[in-house]
């Protein structure tokens, strides 16, 4: 069980992010929550690729030995860039919402109802 600490850390990150997203009323805090969930998922992907005692999968003057899995690292790279894109778009929308409503409180940003 003690070996699973990285996975537990992943779940902690995701749950903290989800908590921020669900219970916080500030739009910026919600964005931070989504970023935390995303970091959790990225951490999960990268931990999947680890083998005990392995080195990075790069042959340039490597000491030799078992190598970590390369595909999860590539997937994490993709997922990080996608996260940056989503974050940029969300923050620009938040800026615009602030311009229109003059507030970041999610309870007051509610012109769309029913």
């Amino acid at each position: 069980m003690i070996y699973n600490i990285p996975f537990i850390a992943v779940v902690c990150l995701i749950l903290i992010g989800l908590y921020a997203l669900v219970f916080k009323r500030n739009l910026i805090k919600m964005v931070i929550g989504i970023t935390l969930i995303e970091s959790g998922v990225n951490l999960f992907l990268i931990t999947l690729g680890y083998r005990k005692g392995s080195i990075a999968p790069i042959y340039t003057s490597s000491p030799g030995g078992i190598m970590a899995l390369p595909i999860p690292q590539a997937l994490t790279l993709t997922s990080i860039v996608i996260g940056v894109a989503v974050l940029a778009l969300m923050l620009s929308l938040v800026i615009h919402i602030y311009r229109h409503y003059g507030t970041l409180d999610v309870r007051k940003v509610r012109r769309l109802k029913e």
């Binding site: 340039t60 790279l77 940029a88």
Partner: protein, 159 residues
């Protein structure tokens, strides 16, 4: 974003070329050492963002317009997808690494196993790294520039 103090600007002017060179190194050696187009592009883009923070968005926007950056980004993207199309033309399959195995540009296959490697290897991968690097530099810098400029304008309009 407004201009910062003289100390910050001087330090930025000194640090900017070094971080730029480091980023370009990471892009160019993507197929040999840890790194690649995205990572190196992010380094260069953060160097540019540092300039933006130190010198203010108005100054930066006088030097380079976001429209030009978006053209650069388009060029990077077209180069990337163009390399994929070249794979279709020369190697019969989309995204084929058609340069690997040739003796000229980037075509050498390295010695199997760990050891120092030639930079002239890996086929289209270094070219794709350059294309993606250009794209990421232009793209990230454009995002930061546009957002910084938009927030500045708003504050001044309020006053």
């Amino acid at each position: 974003m407004t201009e910062m103090s003289k100390i910050v600007r001087t330090i930025t002017a000194i640090a900017f070329p070094f971080s730029m060179i480091y980023g370009l190194y990471v892009i160019a050696h993507g197929h040999l050492t840890p790194g690649g187009g995205f990572q190196g592009g992010a380094v260069v883009a953060s160097a540019c963002a540092m300039v933006l923070v130190a010198f203010g968005s108005k100054w930066t926007l006088d030097k380079i317009k976001e429209k030009r950056l978006s053209v650069f980004e388009s060029i990077g993207a077209i180069a990337f997808i163009g390399l994929a199309f070249f794979g279709l033309i020369f190697g019969a399959v989309f995204f084929n690494n058609f340069l690997v195995g040739n003796d000229y540009l980037f075509g050498i296959i390295p010695v199997v196993g760990s050891g120092l490697a030639d930079i002239n290897t890996a086929g289209v991968i270094p070219l794709m790294n350059f294309a993606v690097g250009l794209k990421v530099i232009a793209g990230l810098f454009a995002i930061v520039l546009v957002m910084a400029y938009a927030t500045t304008n708003y504050k001044e309009g309020k006053k």
